[in-house]
């Protein structure tokens, strides 16, 4: 990947980011006035109006937009109404937790999917393949919140080997990671299996076998390397989804990540939090996309993005 290509991507990303942030500004304001949520129901109309003035909500939407755009240019995302702190500080506390959670879950899912998908492809049509199929279909379709609550019931309440929820040492990550692991694992197994079956029947694999390459080498070097590209593409998409937070999982386990923050921000009409979260997540997604492009090139030298 050349530097020029990177600059071009960055320029397009900046344009997309600007469009996204402008849309976010208007869309969050369509969800309604936050004042009623932040004052006691018994507060007078005068108190409500005073808060609207304090927040600048009495100005026209265009005037609010111009103030906001000016602040955003200096990366000032404002103060969170709910947290009463700079919104970006709150977002940057939550974002690393979500990224770590997503990265661990996705790395494990990707690795396990390659192994299981390859085994299923090698034994295509056999009972192992059918077993892997059932397992992966189940994993891809099980709802996060159900898996989370069952995990709590089984591993925390019944066996007492894991905490129900919370945030701390590695043991607190096991259940959230396991819940986030399931869906990408199921999806990726299906993709790896399909592309591996195709690769194993390709002419270059037959050539490799004819040249006397061992089964393991044929499967995991010759075929797998060629079968990986679709899995990498899907993993990139999944990573982008995970960057936005494992919403339900974070809520169930009280995990202080960006997904929970964003959900709370929307429900509490905390415009600054919503906008700062969208900005941070969009930047991460841009970085993920660049990394995926770079990975393409290293997996398959025939792919060169210019």
């Amino acid at each position: 990947m050349s530097f020029t290509y990177f600059l071009k991507r960055a320029a397009f990303a900046a344009l997309a980011l600007a469009a996204l942030m402008i849309s976010a500004f208007f869309l969050v304001r369509l969800t309604g006035d936050p004042v009623n949520l932040y004052l006691p129901v018994d507060a007078s109309e005068a108190a409500r109006e005073a808060m609207r003035v304090r927040l600048g909500l009495d100005h026209s939407l265009l005037a609010q937009f111009s103030d906001w755009a000016w602040d955003i240019l200096s990366l000032d995302f404002g103060v969170s109404l709910w947290h009463n702190r700079p919104a970006m500080d709150v977002v940057l506390e939550a974002l690393p937790n979500t990224l770590a959670l997503g990265a661990i879950a996705l790395a494990l899912a990707f690795t396990a999917a390659i192994v299981m998908g390859s085994i299923a492809a090698v034994n295509a049509g056999g009972w192992i393949d059918r077993g892997v199929n059932v397992l992966s279909q189940a994993a891809a379709s099980v709802p996060d919140f159900w898996l989370g609550l069952m995990g709590v019931l089984l591993f925390a309440v019944t066996f007492s080997i894991l905490p129900t929820s919370g945030f701390g040492g590695p043991i607190y990550w096991v259940l959230p990671v396991a819940c986030l692991f399931a869906r990408p694992f199921g999806t990726l197994v299906q993709i790896v299996r399909g592309s591996m079956i195709e690769a194993l029947n390709a002419t270059f694999v037959r050539t490799a076998r004819a040249k006397g390459a061992r089964d393991g080498r044929v499967t995991f070097v010759h075929a797998l390397r060629n079968a990986l590209l679709p899995a990498v593409t899907v993993t990139g998409d999944l990573a982008a989804q995970f960057a936005g937070g494992g919403g339900v999982v974070e809520v169930v386990f009280g995990f202080p990540g960006i997904g929970k923050l964003l959900i709370d921000g929307i429900l509490k009409r905390d415009f600054a939090i919503v906008q700062a979260s969208i900005f941070a997540v969009a930047v991460v997604i841009f970085v993920i996309n660049i990394l995926v492009d770079m990975l393409y090139g290293s997996i398959d030298p025939r792919v060169r993005v210019e």
Partner: protein
């Protein structure tokens, strides 16, 4: 060197990371108590105790007020003030407790109370106590000496001590121009840390003036899921969990307690067909309250006849509870229809997601009951923000006929905390315009003793029997799960106040 196969390396890696991190989750320890609630507090500023999520951490744990209300009968009992008296119709005198210090070492005296009052009434700070409990009241405090204080009101306020129970006193060092996240009070516990998104840690205050807490450390955490909160007590990660859903609260560790909330449907009596009293009566008669108790609502909920529970001063015990009589409801609708009332018009039932456990299910059942009686009712469940738009004025003149799911909290113990905003012409949530009722409530607000009680009882009767602009449902209960080794019995104030000091291990 022998290469390790990738799968083995992965397995070893996972095993090693788990082994390194395996530590038994926090379990019960005699010096530590963990309480799990539903939400993170919005604010820990002493002037924001009107919101229960803030109050249950702050009130009587970190900060205290001049007086408290007894959970038994709502009477005013001493706290930071030892006595009080009404000097004249506009002046109250409070004698303050001596030898009290704040967690930051500053002394508690009259000037601290004045500073707290000033903050609470500062419009720029928008304190919840100032905007709600002390709304419409101008308080002017004067120091007589460090332990004696005069508070003058601009209007007659016979229950000023009750209202002062909502004003928590923070240290005089609390910033006057901004809210604080690190409150220093006089309470039995001082704040150790508020870790955003995770927990609030408290430690017993050595210099506390009253009985010392038996558990030196307390942590408040929050989980949104009722099943997770309940499980945390089972595993020993928490000792007390609040707001357990009825379907999860089925063990002997689950204690249901009245929470001072009354659930009801507010009828918009200004829009046809609901502007006809027969239609509003039919609506009440169509609801099978007995069928809802023990199924969708907790079995210990009490059928309500008015919008405050019996513990509130002014409660009227003589108002009859609505019976379930769908046939009479049908005949009332038929009579109204014969007189040209558009009873077939669609009525929207506005509900709020999660206002109480099973809130959606309760309205689905009520919608079906109304349909059986002949109403054309459509259910619309809303999240809090759009629901508030329906609850609070101003409303469009062209709005659809509607009934609104709500619940009214009155932990303060006097009818004045419920009536003016909800049932007077100027009330910001009121769908009723009635000069007679306005006068009853205004007179009751100024009166004292038996006269006050009589006037408020009349007002409640008028609302429920004459105006019929509500469909009262139940005096509600909340379920708390308490660990077997913990001594704690939640009372009517437990929704707003976790009395950590009173909790001990068996």
């Amino acid at each position: 060197m022998k290469k390790i196969p990738a799968i083995h390396a992965l397995g070893m890696g996972v095993a090693m990371s788990l082994a390194a991190g395996v530590a038994i989750p926090a379990r019960a320890a005699p010096d530590k108590l963990t309480v799990v609630v539903t939400d993170e507090p919005k604010s820990l500023d002493p002037c924001d105790t009107d919101l229960s999520g803030n109050s249950r951490i702050l009130h009587n744990n970190i900060t205290e007020a001049l007086v408290n209300l007894s959970p038994k009968d709502g009477s005013v009992v001493p706290s930071l003030a030892t006595s009080w008296r009404q000097v004249d119709s506009l002046t109250w005198e409070f004698k303050l407790r001596e030898g009290v210090t704040f967690h930051d070492g500053k002394a508690f005296d009259s000037s601290a109370v004045i500073a707290a009052l000033k903050r609470a009434q500062d419009p720029a700070l928008a304190c919840e106590v100032g905007l709600a409990t002390l709304k419409g009241l101008k308080l002017n405090a004067q120091i007589v000496n460090p332990t004696t204080l005069l508070i003058k009101t601009d209007v007659v306020e016979p229950i000023l001590p009750n209202k002062m129970s909502a004003l928590d006193i923070g240290s005089p060092a609390t910033p006057g121009d901004t809210k604080t996240r690190t409150p220093a009070g006089t309470g039995p516990y001082k704040l150790v840390a508020w870790t955003p998104g995770q927990s609030v840690g408290l430690a017993a205050y050595e210099g506390y003036w009253g009985d010392k807490p038996t558990i030196p450390n307390a942590t408040i955490i929050w989980r949104a899921e009722s099943a997770v909160r309940a499980a945390m007590v089972d595993t020993g990660e928490a000792q007390i969990a609040y707001e357990i859903a009825p379907q999860d609260g089925t063990t002997e560790q689950d204690h249901a307690f009245p929470n001072a909330e009354t659930s009801l449907l507010r009828i918009d009596a200004q829009i046809a067909p609901l502007n006809d009293k027969r239609v509003r009566e039919a609506l009440n008669l169509a609801i099978d309250r007995d069928g809802l108790i023990g199924t969708i609502f907790h079995k210990d909920a009490q059928k309500a006849m008015q919008v405050v529970p019996p513990s509130v001063f002014g409660f009227n015990p003589d108002i009859p509870v609505w019976t379930y009589d769908p046939e009479k409801a049908k005949s009332l609708l038929a009579a109204a229809k014969a007189d040209g009332v558009p009873v077939d018009k669609e009525i929207v039932i506005y509900g709020r997601i999660g206002i109480y456990p099973n809130s959606s299910e309760s309205l689905e059942a009520i919608q079906a009951m109304l349909a059986d009686a002949g109403f054309n009712a459509r259910l619309e469940m809303l999240e809090t923000s759009p629901w508030l738009k329906r609850l609070l004025k101003p409303w469009s003149k062209d709005r659809q006929p509607s009934i609104l799911q709500t619940q009214i909290d009155n932990a303060e113990g006097d009818a004045v905390f419920t009536l003016p905003n909800r049932f007077t012409t100027d009330g910001n949530q009121s769908t009723i315009t009635d000069a007679g009722l306005d006068k009853l409530i205004a007179d009751g607000t100024k009166a004292t003793g038996e006269e006050r009680k009589r006037l408020f009882q009349q007002a409640f009767k008028y609302i429920a029997v004459d105006a019929v602009n509500i469909a009262p449902l139940f005096h509600m209960v909340t379920i708390a799960r308490v660990a077997k080794n913990v001594n704690y019995t939640p009372d009517v104030q437990a929704g707003n106040e976790i009395k950590l000091k009173s909790i001990s291990y068996r």
